[in-house]
Symmetry: C2
Subunit: 409 residues, 2 copies
């Protein structure tokens, strides 16, 4: 392999050390002390490699290895370095380290290229502190607005703008926006965060589409009553339609096919006492699919289900949409390049979709984008035991290196 | 009517004033300042009426109007004066006030009788402070044990024995036990705490049986996973079998008939996040029926259901029985007397069952016992808005007065 496993491992381990919860997974929220330490480490590595450091109007950190023709659009590789609370060492960092390792290889081997290579370190992808997420790549696409900086607060009431200013970044959204046509290709490597690659015994996943997301909050309003003294035919049990909904949504998602998923993950029951009939139940609904048409079909089935539940149960049902994000396709051209490269390198790959959102989802708006998955042990992530074998990570980096070499001219 | 609505209302209102949460329902937990104030009020009323006050080895408070023959077994009327947190003014107190009002009537009218009338004020029926309940009537039947006094604690770690001693009662369980054959009849009036009487437009319910209670805690152990990245065919969603259980238990209880009820009232979901598949769900199961045979049938159906859920869902299911109480029949003889009296008095009554436990459930072990329900507005109880119209309450008291006069000789 051209890439160096020891260096990759060292980067991942060093980045893990900038951590607010040692021994309990990695915690590095945006614009904190740990963020600053990790950022300094990344800058140091970029400098050591010989990259030119640049920070944009939103604090995105770039390390540039210029090509012969600086006017040509750049080839960009990277991901985010923030984490969830008690997260793992790979989510985000694996993609950032991919950029660093590819730059090191190009420098060490003295490879000349026409286009500029840019390693990018995004921040605040997880959105844990301010509840928004993928903020830095959104700033690059122009999706971030001034209002959001002022109207988004952490749990201590500090606004996003104030946190950034305290950290030393004076946000300039206009300056952060990427010029049209200035990025030739964006590559992100990410851990799968699911069980598919390991289940299929594959080493790499080449993502075709990042799923769209349709979220609802549904409230079932019945009437609480004594579990002993209220006859069965005189009840308005809010749990029953909620339970039927959860079961039916599962069936609808399976029937929809195309890898669509539907989940009731959150449920609040009132008064939640063993001897009281539930008077109120609130659930979250999370629907994801790679095609807008499939999401729409599931939504229609869900509406029919709600109508039938209203007929069947003497309970009021309120449905509120809380989020909608369209599916995003990755660049077919780059996907094809990577598939060919994987064949050449003898890397066992599969074409797959991403069930989670990533910075690549935003970057696809402004550049031909590719997302490559490496296996997650037990499908775990956002968890202290999140793990990817370094051999697997190196194979993913090797594949992206091939893609970069193909495109960088 | 022979009983006096104004006096009844005054007693209920006065008792409501001994309250730890004015404006937020009535809160009077056992062995507190409010308990002591209410107890003093009850003693004062008993003295005013001319009853002889007696306290047993567990602090049960009796007011006696002796009959001509003190050797004959007594006719006892009463209920409890403790409440839940933020409860209502009638639960318990209605039955105690019944005893006081009947005693007043006998004294005022100069009615002579062979057997002694005893008005009883139980305490700690709700079991809120120590988590056990119907403690005082249990002491009278011999069901209360020394260990329970020492091993039962309130949330501040004070044992039941210590709380009683601090209150001024030195528990003597042997002395509290009622001598066999010393009670000819026990009458308890209670609010229905359900919607049946009002639904049927009846004034009084003559309880035939207090239902048996079968309680379980069921745990569904699946596996948490990312709601976006875990395919439908690779999930161990703990919510699905729990939801199916709740729906099927409802059907089983309806199919069982005989007024049986089955309720899933409590549900705990982990991790309970909109984008995570539930990995663990714990539910409470509450089954009640008037016949042991019906409870057993429901339990068997529940076991079959659990087996089929285990086959259908890749989730571990653990079932733990948490409580079993057999159904308790009221005295057929006294029921018949009350039915005849209701006819004579023109009181619209129905024979019904009690879905909740009461002191009468324990008293039935040591005496022919009768439980009479009066209507609860909206079926509400254990709630600040718990309400029974005084006219309805007076009719229930009138009926019990007739029963007492029939039996007191």
């Amino acid at each position: 392999m051209r890439v160096n496993i020891q260096r990759i491992q060292r980067d991942i381990e060093n980045l893990s050390s900038f951590n607010a919860t040692p021994g309990k997974g990695v915690t590095r929220l945006a614009f904190t002390k740990e963020d600053r330490e990790a950022r300094e480490y990344i800058k140091n590595q970029m400098e050591k490699i010989g990259l030119e450091i640049y920070e944009d109007g939103y604090g995105n950190l770039f390390g540039r290895k210029y090509g012969k023709d600086r006017e040509l659009p750049s080839v960009m590789v990277g991901s985010h370095y923030d984490t969830v609370i008690n997260g793992g060492p790979f989510d985000g960092m694996a993609g950032l380290v991919t950029g660093l390792e590819i730059a090191r290889y190009l420098v060490e081997e003295g490879i000349e290229h026409e286009n500029t290579l840019e390693v990018v370190a995004f921040n605040d992808e997880e959105g844990v502190r301010f509840g928004n997420g993928i903020s830095n790549s959104r700033a690059m696409t122009g999706d971030m607005k001034e209002e959001e900086l002022d109207n988004t607060f952490d749990k201590n009431g500090i606004s996003l703008r104030k946190a950034m200013e305290d950290y030393g970044i004076k946000p300039d959204l206009e300056a952060a926006k990427v010029k049209e046509g200035s990025i030739k290709a964006f590559f992100e490597l990410h851990i799968e965060q699911g069980p598919v690659l390991i289940g299929n015994n594959n080493e790499v996943g080449i993502v075709q589409t990042i799923v769209g997301l349709d979220r609802y909050d549904i409230r079932f309003i019945g009437k609480a009553g004594h579990a002993g003294t209220t006859p069965m035919n005189n009840r308005k049990d809010a749990l029953l339609p909620a339970a039927e909904f959860a079961l039916e949504l599962n069936r609808i998602a399976i029937d929809a096919g195309y890898g669509a998923v539907g989940t009731v993950g959150e449920m609040k029951i009132l008064p939640n006492a063993s001897n009281v009939i539930p008077g109120y139940v609130q659930i979250s609904v999370d629907i994801r699919a790679t095609k807008e048409e499939v999401i729409n079909n599931i939504h229609q089935e869900m509406n029919k289900l709600i109508d039938s539940l209203k007929e069947k149960h003497p309970v009021e049902i309120q449905v509120r949409k809380t989020l909608y994000i369209s599916p995003v396709n990755m660049s077919e051209e780059i996907c094809t390049i990577l598939e060919n490269k994987a064949e050449e390198l003898g890397i066992k790959y599969e074409k797959m979709n991403s069930g989670a959102g990533h910075d690549a989802m935003m970057m696809a708006r402004i550049a031909p984008t590719s997302l490559v998955f490496v296996p997650s042990k037990d499908g775990l992530s956002h968890h202290p035991e999140e793990w990817t074998d370094y051999e697997d990570l190196a194979k993913g980096i090797e594949l992206i290196l091939s893609g970069v070499l193909e495109l960088i001219g």
